[in-house]
Symmetry: C2
Subunit: 415 residues, 2 copies
């Protein structure tokens, strides 16, 4: 069997060719992948059925089986996603900020691929295709290490993709399925710092911590989304209710959903009961500070562990705060640098929020749910970063590239 | 004694205050540091003499003692360096690419400090001050872990800096000297991923590998500079000689100096003897491929280990190559992604070099020595990165920051 190192060497060699291809050749390869996914649907379903049967026998939950399942509609939307990426502009090759220096040198930056990306993810097999499309478009080779439960599906998708690339200018070695063995295999992959430029883990916190702790290669990651919304004194009540409701219940299980509501004490008496009623009608369980419980008797008293907690369900922590400063302190202490929103009519407090909150996305008068590559206009995203190195927030095509310096001279030497 | 974790907690708390200060307050703090360095010169010299005496007793080389020494001229240029940083524009707070989306949201990016930077470096105590100035200006707190040889000097510089900050709006806790104990202390520092945003090692390859292998925090680094220059067929001979000479001998001991010369076989017969003579007159030892030795009998035959080697001295490897493709292959195999130059009159080959070479700085018709923050117009640099994550090339103030997303709404929620 090919070793992980050999797969990575293949990817590295492929990346050297891919990195210099023009947009037209990369887009043609993406369209070939989309066509091939559709033409090979039966082969893919067969492999997926094998995973589903094994999963059922192993007692996977219905939710897990649902994530694992490649239905015709999932496969079609996955193929269309690849075509959408082909339509996005090429992030690579442009130069910017070219300045002429006193000595006549023209210097600036040129955007280049990262090289080789290692994706480490869990059960959803469509990530295999989504990540491939974004990496190839950005000129990167990709090593795909999905979950054991999806092993057959991922192998089949990999075969289909490599076959499709065989008729294009993109070397098939640019897309490598790393066999899903045990965690030692992941550890080996993450140790290849001479061959891999970045690892991007996607999945539960356990997987991400494992990657962060074992990687010798750089990792771009986020652990969790403990998102807050601060309802300021004097904010518009109708907006406050609509934003709170949307942020909490539109899709409670995702990382940009609301987990904790902060309410200015001057707004609490009139606003909090209204907000709480809307939330309760939407089936949300409320856990509040003593002042919250006074104003909303149906709320359960919050434990300290309810603050800073990522519920990912219809549970919301609530706290009445003295002022903006206390709200900022709460967010600094309990937030996870993901998405933090304020609802306010005050110019000064909006600007202070925007400036002082340290989060990948800081929002005024809108739902936390907008922190998403598609919603922010990136076209697509490969993940989200809550650490500030390299990327902070949704990672689109540009975040899968770097910039090198270029120096154009006429014989200049240094004094 | 205060633990490393406590020092980092202090830095983190300081960073929260520093991160929101306006330029005027940060610059005033930098000027206070410069003044205080001058006013406290005697205290600094005394501590430095103690280090020098200990170093002499321990048998440090003259070169090491020289790097360790804080003379009046070094101290003055260090203080002036701090004032220079105060004059640079503030990298923090600006917004860019603010676009209005179909739903009326105005979204874009706002530049923010990284937070807490950990510098790990070797003997030069002036790095303590240079890194402090750049980190503070970019709104970051800094943990300074210098070498054991400079322990007294660094402690004295830290005292002087913290004293100066006492009269400013920058919390003195933003600058922390981490005691130089053993490598376990460095390992502990590098494990604090809840408190430190990035580690920047500066020094020999051994130190940098130690940091890269032991860090749980992100690391921005470069191992070595194995820089090439390719003399193309038809290039200008006078330029070729001048650039080769400058790149190799102007300062052979630094990372952007030339280590290997590649010569197109069509240019070799007429050009290589001329270049070789100029190099020999400058005292450079030549190690060449068989064709080189035919044309330049004084050159020693090169071993394979001479290619990809960072000599950091007046030794140069030379290889005659068939064409641009072979030059590109050589650079991809033996280069270190640092600085790669071509001397050419061909538009097509210049553009291919710029596009296909993967290095932090790619140069046409100029010396490799220009890959330097000061030379490229960054004002100052804190290090150089040869990995593509976060920064690629010299790291100035902007590379000590990140960008968060800002979303300005009027009550928008997600459908």
């Amino acid at each position: 069997m090919t070793s992980v190192r050999e797969l990575a060497q293949g990817a590295r060699a492929g990346a050297r060719v891919l990195g210099t291809l023009d947009r037209g050749r990369k887009d043609a390869a993406l369209r070939a992948i989309a066509d091939s996914l559709r033409a090979s649907a039966e082969e893919i379903y067969r492999a997926n059925r094998a995973d589903l049967e094994r999963g059922r026998a192993a007692g996977l939950s219905e939710a897990m089986l649902d994530r694992l399942s490649l239905t015709p509609s999932v496969l079609d939307s996955t193929a269309r996603g690849v075509e959408d990426v082909a339509r996005l502009p090429d992030p690579v090759g442009g130069r910017r900020d070219m300045r002429r220096l006193a000595n006549g040198l023209l210097v600036g930056r040129q955007r280049v691929p990262l090289g080789v990306v290692a994706m480490v993810y869990e059960s959803r097999p469509n990530v295999t295709v989504d990540a491939t499309a974004l990496c190839l478009k950005a000129g990167n080779a990709v090593l795909l290490r999905g979950g054991k439960e999806a092993a057959s599906s991922n192998q089949a998708l990999g075969r289909v993709i490599q076959r499709a690339l065989g008729d294009t200018d993109v070397p098939p070695a640019c897309v490598q399925i790393v066999p899903a063995t045990d965690r030692d295999g992941v550890r080996e992959l993450l140790s290849l710092d001479d061959l891999i430029d970045v690892a991007i883990p996607r999945g539960g916190e356990g997987l991400i911590r494992f990657v962060a702790e074992n990687a010798r290669v750089p990792v771009v990651k986020h652990y969790q989304g403990v998102c807050h919304l601060f309802l300021d004194a004097g904010c518009d009540h109708a907006r406050a209710v609509a934003i709170t409701l949307n942020a909490k219940v539109q899709r409670p299980g995702v990382c940009n959903a609301l987990e904790c509501l902060l309410v200015h004490e001057q707004a609490a008496e009139s606003l909090l009961p209204v907000v709480a009623q809307a939330l309760r009608e939407a089936g949300v369980e409320l856990r509040g500070c003593p002042r919250t419980v006074q104003l909303v008797p149906e709320a359960r008293p919050a434990e300290d562990s309810d603050y800073g907690h990522e519920f990912l369900s219809k549970v919301l922590a609530i706290r009445v705060v003295r002022d903006l400063d206390q709200a900022l302190e709460h967010v600094a202490r309990y937030g996870s640098n993901h998405t933090e929103a304020i609802c306010t009519e005050s110019y000064e407090r909006a600007e202070r929020w925007l400036r002082e909150v340290d989060a990948s996305c800081v929002v005024v008068n809108a739902s936390t749910r907008f922190n998403d590559g598609g919603q922010l206009g990136l076209g697509a995203e490969i993940g989200i970063s809550t650490s500030k190195l390299h990327a902070y927030g949704p990672m689109g095509l540009e975040e899968l590239t770097a910039e090198k310096w270029v120096v154009l001279g006429q014989g200049q030497v240094r004094e």
